[in-house]
Subunit: 234 residues, 2 copies
Amino acid sequence: MKKLENTIPSCDSCPNEKSVFCSLSQLELGELSINKKNYHYKKGEEIFQEGNYPHGLFCIFSGGVKLSKRGNEGKDQIIRFAKSGDILGYRSMLAKQMYSTTATAMDDVLICQIPIQNFETLLRSSNKLCMKTIELLTSDLKRSENQVLSVSQKRVADRLAEALLTLKNKFGLKEDRLTLNVQITRREIGEMAGITTATTIRTLSDFNKDGIIELKSKEIKLLKLDVLERFASH
Amino acid sequence: MKKLENTIPSCDSCPNEKSVFCSLSQLELGELSINKKNYHYKKGEEIFQEGNYPHGLFCIFSGGVKLSKRGNEGKDQIIRFAKSGDILGYRSMLAKQMYSTTATAMDDVLICQIPIQNFETLLRSSNKLCMKTIELLTSDLKRSENQVLSVSQKRVADRLAEALLTLKNKFGLKEDRLTLNVQITRREIGEMAGITTATTIRTLSDFNKDGIIELKSKEIKLLKLDVLERFASH
DNA sequence: CGTCATGTTGAGAGCCCTCAAACGTCGTGG
DNA sequence: CCACGACGTTTGAGGGCTCTCAACATGACG
């Protein structure tokens, strides 16, 4: 982690468009920026850790982040991903609780830390921000409840197909419109779906043999989306 | 389901105290009540169903409700419980989406249906209500994310112990301070933890043999809370 | 008292995990 | 440049936890 100076602009000139803050006025964005700190994290570095208390709201300027929970035997469960424009740690901050997840940089991450007060003040004054926050929470909640059902009832192949589609939706595809545009290990894919690494690899290999996906070194091509979707909807 | 007249008071004289609405003024509560409808549901009746669109916000006057999702093979997953003072269906209503869960009465339920507009109008004007709603969502989200980890990593006995403790926390104990104060089937307990009925019964029976709980007809006594907690924390 | 849901228990199977070994890749430091 | 170690990938063998299926008991309820 490296503290940065002046490499990231103030919130009022942030190029990220789909953030919760997009409804705010320039003035409000300026207020949000006061005492904002900028950081650079390298791949694998932890931005915050489960069990620590938040000192501010993180907002990703660029890069990808995974949010995970540590199980009792060192096995992690990935809860969700975040990328540029997304905010991190807002759940814990709003509840004034310890972080319940750990945030880890998946590649080079430029990130802003906004003082708690800035956010809370705006939340109290801007009804639009409130509604945006509520939208964010409802969408996260729905996704999480679906994940409960999924992990609880679906079998490994179905959950794995689901994980691949989740990656496609979050990170998109490369220019060939087939290859997942994300660098991720087999272990992490398994941690998305609650599968051990060995089984993840075995099942990916099955998908490969069946021509549903194509594995080339670290790249994963989704050849038959319809089949994956059929799996995922089981 | 039976529509009721005048058996439930207006929101401004509702005796339930721990609701999201407790911060509102008498005037605001009056506004909330406009065109409110009251219903009576008997045990087993569905208050709303996954896939339908909400017409209003439900607020439980009395009784217990389970919220569940239907899996692909008729197997349900219980997402959470609600009782007097709790609101239902707010997630779907706020997101303007279909219900993602089905709400079923666990016993006699008296419930109010508040028109969407009433709630939305208040949400826009009352910052306190916004913050209360955000609190509710963050707490639900945290619980749901923990459930993902639980179902994904813990074994059956641990999840079952967790379910029993959840029931204790939500519904409390009877006067003997041991017996769960809720009427619930084995199948439903299994559906909380993502366990089949047969395995649920077998594992409860194991707990019984080990003196951790005591099973007498439908009643469940939690004899050794510390052991249950140790299981749950695995 | 019949009927249907719920509870209980047994036997067997299978999915997935655990453990282990071997191989490839990448970055680091000598 | 190569040796080395750390990490990720791959595959096999074996086992066990939990599900499935089935039969029967019990209880609720008209």
